[in-house]
Symmetry: C2
């Protein structure tokens, strides 16, 4: 593409991102210094339309970027940014106050992000399926009550309190816990669904009854973990401020879509493998109702495995470079935060 064409495309998109109004040849010339007459600009605009980078909303209106146009803008016409030092400091400060619990940290991050970015933020926690058991702990908290704690390699601990009918003491429980850790440690949480009770009983025959009760409880606990929320969003209201949401039925459609955890889950899952920060512009995100929105996504990776992602969802008209820099760096910070949990 010719340099001047690129300039014009870039300026057009930049202006549209700013104003949300179709951009005309006159505006381009007067508002930005482009060294040619409106007529020349018009000619260039025409070819840009023909080539699919821009479109006419109607015969006598300015031009609006197409998905292809945005794509080119992001890939070729934008410089990669990094998170400003000041913002980085601020976020680091915030991380200090977030406590060591990974779940809560990510949930709180969702809020921080939406307040800084002014759009909707979506955070996907590591799903239970991606966690492996690091250790099981059993604590006798009362004569017939046991606190089960399952620690995962990702630092997401899960616990439940269950009643046990048989007699047990703490020593026995510790033995059992050790055995469980030994037998199941390193395995995926999904293995907890059908624990080989017989094997356990063979190892410590005297605890038959306790084993059975515990295994049942762990299975039930695991089941409820599976149905647990792993997607958090914040800042849906932010979107309603944007001119593209003036249309109430469109706003409704998007809002309802954003409340469908399933849809969001698919959205996040579908693109998580890419492993890098990515922008999904308009239709690229694959969700019909969100085809007028863009999604920026940064996966976070623990031990080489992508376990979750953070993202921003906004109008296609967004500051891609800045936001991508933000989530990129944030995902790095998450990874740092999750690392120390590894032992």
């Amino acid at each position: 593409m010719k340099t001047r064409q690129q300039d014009i495309l870039k300026t057009t998109i930049a202006d549209f991102i700013y104003t949300a109004e179709p951009v005309g040849s006159k505006t381009l010339q007067s508002k930005y210094k482009i060294n040619c007459s409106p007529a020349t600009i018009r000619n260039e605009l025409k070819t840009l339309v023909d080539e699919g980078y821009l479109e006419h909303v109607h015969t006598s209106s300015g031009r609006v970027p197409t998905d292809k146009g945005y794509r080119y803008f992001v890939d070729k016409l934008s410089e990669k940014q990094t998170m400003p030092a000041q913002e980085e400091l601020w976020f680091k400060e915030q991380f200090q106050h977030m406590g060591s619990n990974i779940q809560d940290m990510l949930i709180q991050l969702t809020e921080l992000m939406s307040s800084v970015m002014d759009y909707t933020t979506i955070v996907m926690l590591p799903s239970i399926f991606q966690e492996s058991l690091k250790a099981a702990h059993l604590v006798l908290v009362d004569i017939d009550t046991v606190l089960i704690t399952l620690m995962s390699t990702l630092g997401m601990n899960h616990q439940a309190v269950v009643n046990i009918s048989g007699d047990v003491n703490q020593e026995d429980l510790t033995k059992i816990a050790n055995l469980l850790t030994h037998k199941l440690g390193g395995q995926s949480f999904s293995a907890l669904d059908n624990i080989d009770v017989d094997y356990l009983i063979k190892e410590l025959p005297s605890y038959k009854g306790v084993f059975e009760e515990l295994v049942l409880s762990i299975g039930k606990m695991n089941e409820s973990l599976k149905s647990q929320k792993s997607i958090y969003t914040k800042g849906k209201g932010n979107m309603l401020r944007l001119p593209e949401f003036e249309n109430i039925s469109y706003a409704r459609e998007v809002m309802e879509c954003l409340e469908e955890t399933k849809v969001l889950h698919q959205l996040m899952q579908r693109h998580i493998d890419t492993g890098t920060v990515e922008a999904f512009i308009g239709g690229e995100n694959g969700v019909e109702s969100l085809s007028q929105c863009s999604v920026l996504m940064a996966p976070y990776t623990v031990e080489g495995k992508t376990v979750g992602s953070i993202s921003v969802l906004g109008p296609k008209r967004m500051d891609y470079a800045r936001l991508m820099a933000l989530i990129h760096r944030l995902s790095g910070m998450i990874e740092d935060q999750m690392k120390p949990q590894e032992v």
Copy 2:
């Protein structure tokens, strides 16, 4: 108030709740069997307007209920309902699958409620300030790592993993945990902010270093618990379907308000003491932005103390009797669910 007037008021409000359109005298006569002419109805309507139960949106439109009208409708013209047996069964069934963790149970309930009620549901978890410590447990999970578990009387357990620099073994930790439980058990979580270290050291002098580290960690843990989310909402998108939200700027105002955890917290807190299911109609809820909405609230109580509440937020035009019955019963179910945790 005369019986006929009551009839007319009731019918008017019922019709408005159904159609969301101002109700005229003709509609009242033709659609519902009221034994008098439109002119008579008009006269009655006029006095109802004069007395503040209805209002005119403009000179030549039908009547719309005022807050006072709704109030009268709810208090005097509606019969108390109970949750239908079928629905009750369904909810009980759902509770089975929710796992024993109170937090998760309430979060999941928020979603269930919004799907059944079609409005926005708000659930307030017991705040950390209302919990008392039941027991502390310390588990050595690694040579220098301790898992702290603080169990509350409400069954909301909190935990954190911390690194300890000094040498400890499980036996020591168990002693410490017992001491902590003994010293702090029954006290409010807020007491955890400034634990009397000296006292502890006096009891078990050899653990000075460990104590100090642990107490610091517990303090930090407690701090992060305080900032934790205790309000959950669901179904904000449901509202956008309603005709009262056709106006985008109004919709935006409400949506943004519903994203302000602080505001919601105040809203819930302000009315929690009433101790019974309550309807706050329009302006009664005390939040400026929500003055066109009604809030139905059912507190839930543990050991005679109200610790949280569940509520539905919708347009003033809602089925008060039905929804109040629902949340009333649900709050009872929550209480049942929280009881077994008491020992």
